[in-house]
Symmetry: C2
């Protein structure tokens, strides 16, 4: 049965949790991964694909959608669900993270994040109230407050300032929110400082949000710092409420964050690296663009239940990437999203069966994450190719992901 906050906690296994998130557009079994549809489309996929992959909820970005096509377009089409033909749950991010990541940020005042549009250079002031208004207008099931995210490496003062601003804006967002069919989550900031995480979480809990997000992670910090901040913060949050770790989504991070008690995730990484030919396997990432795949007559991942692996030899994907055929991006995205969504399904089963720790160990025995240095260098290379500074795995660019 749904609690008043729209979440039912079904089982725990140590800190890992299995639950159900209830929304007006349907239930979402947790832990859940939300594919990223920044501009109202999970890149290269259609809604039938997403249903086939087992996605139950997707994430859109209200700031991007406000700039294009505009709230009034989406509203006149009956809201974001109708517009993108996704009749299932949607969460929208507010645009706060874009204040951290977009090159087009102008300034952050006490009242607003001021952006210069990447589309036409126009200036937009995003106040907490406007962030709620945009999100109420397009009508996602779960909406996010405007928050301020401090980059990694800055001092405690800056992290504290971001936290305090986030707290004040959380109050304003809560007051501005008027739709009873939407859940507005709180976002915990506080960087890598456990006492600041505690201060932020306690303040938000005092406001009694129906769900809590952990922000300010996956912003350039080391994996250990990220895991610690996640663990510390998750432990502060009420067990009855859903917990959403923003911008995290490599397979190894998903496993560790579920172990820490997180219920919801979004990340552009699985879809973005897919479009570069990097595909997940139980042993780690492989890149089908590379020479060893030229004659590979086996699927990318033997036994994988995704359409791509059930249908094509890896050599065909290799060819499609080499020939820059559009189908390459679609097939690779299908595989990576299915890999991540299946991982979530398996973790959920393991929690329900009380075997999560075994699952976690087995996963790490097999899955070798890319070396962090290599990972960062790949990321820098990719961002450089896009003309952007290094930031994070979250949707940071003008085009979305």
């Amino acid at each position: 049965m749904a609690g008043p906050n729209g979440f039912t906690l079904e089982a725990t296994d140590s800190d890992a949790r299995a639950g159900i998130l209830h929304t007006p557009h349907g239930d979402v079994p947790t832990p859940a991964f939300m594919p990223v549809a920044t501009q109202g489309s999970v890149k290269a996929l259609d809604p039938a694909d997403l249903e086939g992959l087992g996605a139950k909820i997707v994430l859109g970005n209200a700031y991007h959608l406000y700039l294009r096509p505009g709230d009034e377009v989406i509203k006149s089409l009956g809201g974001l669900h109708s517009f993108m033909a996704w009749p299932h749950p949607i969460l929208t991010d507010s645009g706060g993270f874009q204040g951290f990541s977009l090159q087009h940020l102008r300034e952050i005042t006490q009242d607003a994040i001021v952006f210069k549009s990447h589309l036409d250079g126009s200036i937009h002031e995003l106040t907490p109230e406007a962030a709620i208004r945009h999100q109420e207008s397009i009508g996602a099931d779960i909406i996010m407050p405007l928050d301020v995210c401090a980059p990694t490496g800055v001092g405690r003062d800056e992290v504290e300032n971001a936290l305090e601003m986030t707290s004040r804006w959380a109050v304003r967002c809560r007051e501005a929110a008027s739709r009873s069919d939407q859940m507005l989550f709180g976002i915990v900031q506080g960087g890598s400082f456990p006492d600041l995480r505690k201060r932020s979480a306690e303040f938000l809990i005092s406001l009694d949000f129906p769900g809590y997000a952990i922000g300010g992670v996956s912003v350039g910090e080391s994996k250990d710092e990220m895991y610690q901040a996640t663990h510390v913060t998750a432990a502060l949050l009420p067990s009855k409420s859903p917990r959403y770790l923003m911008g995290v989504g490599s397979p190894e991070d998903l496993v560790e964050a579920v172990a820490a008690g997180i219920d919801m995730f979004d990340c552009a990484l699985p879809t973005r690296i897919a479009r570069n030919g990097a595909l997940f396997t139980p042993d780690g990432r492989v890149n089908v663009y590379t020479a060893p795949f030229r004659y590979r007559d086996q699927p990318v991942q033997a036994g994988c239940d995704c359409y791509t692996c059930r249908t094509f030899p890896a050599a065909y994907l290799h060819h499609l990437f080499r020939a820059k055929e559009l189908l390459a991006y679609r097939l690779a995205t299908i595989h990576n999203l299915r890999f991540v969504l299946r991982l979530m399904e398996e973790m959920r089963s393991a929690v329900l069966d009380g075997t999560f720790e075994d699952y976690r160990k087995a996963f790490h025995r097999s899955f070798v994450p890319p070396d962090q240095e290599r990972r960062h260098s790949q990321k820098r290379k990719w961002l450089k190719a896009q003309g952007r500074p290094e930031v994070s795995e979250r949707d940071t660019d003008t085009s979305g992901e």
Copy 2:
């Protein structure tokens, strides 16, 4: 029952025909449109999409596939059907047309078309025997001889030379062809000269091919010239054999060519213009990129049975094109291919019912083709953007279509 040439003529209605093409990978009801998969992929679509659209046969280009991924890759993967996971009929073109269209053509000798690869600058001599060897190696159901195609606007001498070369090469291709499970068609050349078309057709018929293609059309000539050449040539061909009009595929041309007695078509136009936002409707083309579609809450074509029209408001396609989302190309391609494939299905039914002339008239009453001058200017603009000279609707570029 299949004739020895793999074709059963089921019905005629004036000159229009309905039949069945028999191949080792299945039957193809005709008239049939073959979506273009130059490099082994119909751009932006997967095989399940194509099946859902009602495609029964696709076209690949043996010259492109020889350059990349290479015959030996496709062969080691079990042939083109396995490689691209398309277990249905395939026709491959030889590369002769690329001798007409590619910027990388070096020369045409008595023995071969000499190309410089667009991939690595290497020189490749394509003899008639090599064209057959490549096509036998990758294993399509229907293969094409190496032919020589004269551009429009050249004198009778050049057209005649191309024809004579094509005839001599047809003999060599026929002698080189050794696989009994493949049908090698003959290609009629002769440009807009009825007596040359007659000479070419009679020579090829004396060699008794299991099917005949009409080449040297859709190479820049006017629609009237193209219709006339089609009509004249179709009338010369044996009624028991399938007739394939190469490189033709705008809706209005398909209707006129079926009226002239053509059974098979291929063309990159429906898929190429889709990727520019130009979509077919019963009234003609519309471009969803344009402002009137911004708020359009109806599908692109009311009542269309394609996934795109059944699922999305036109405003969503407009947004996807504006935002350069990959899904735009897929959804637009699905619509245009379904439009063309449904047109073929409807023409076939009309022939079987003896109502083809009514169908043809009703089609033309509603469908307004783009003005030829506007069409040519759009084409020039598109080719210029690709850095290429104007040529034709056939697959002319280095990347395929």
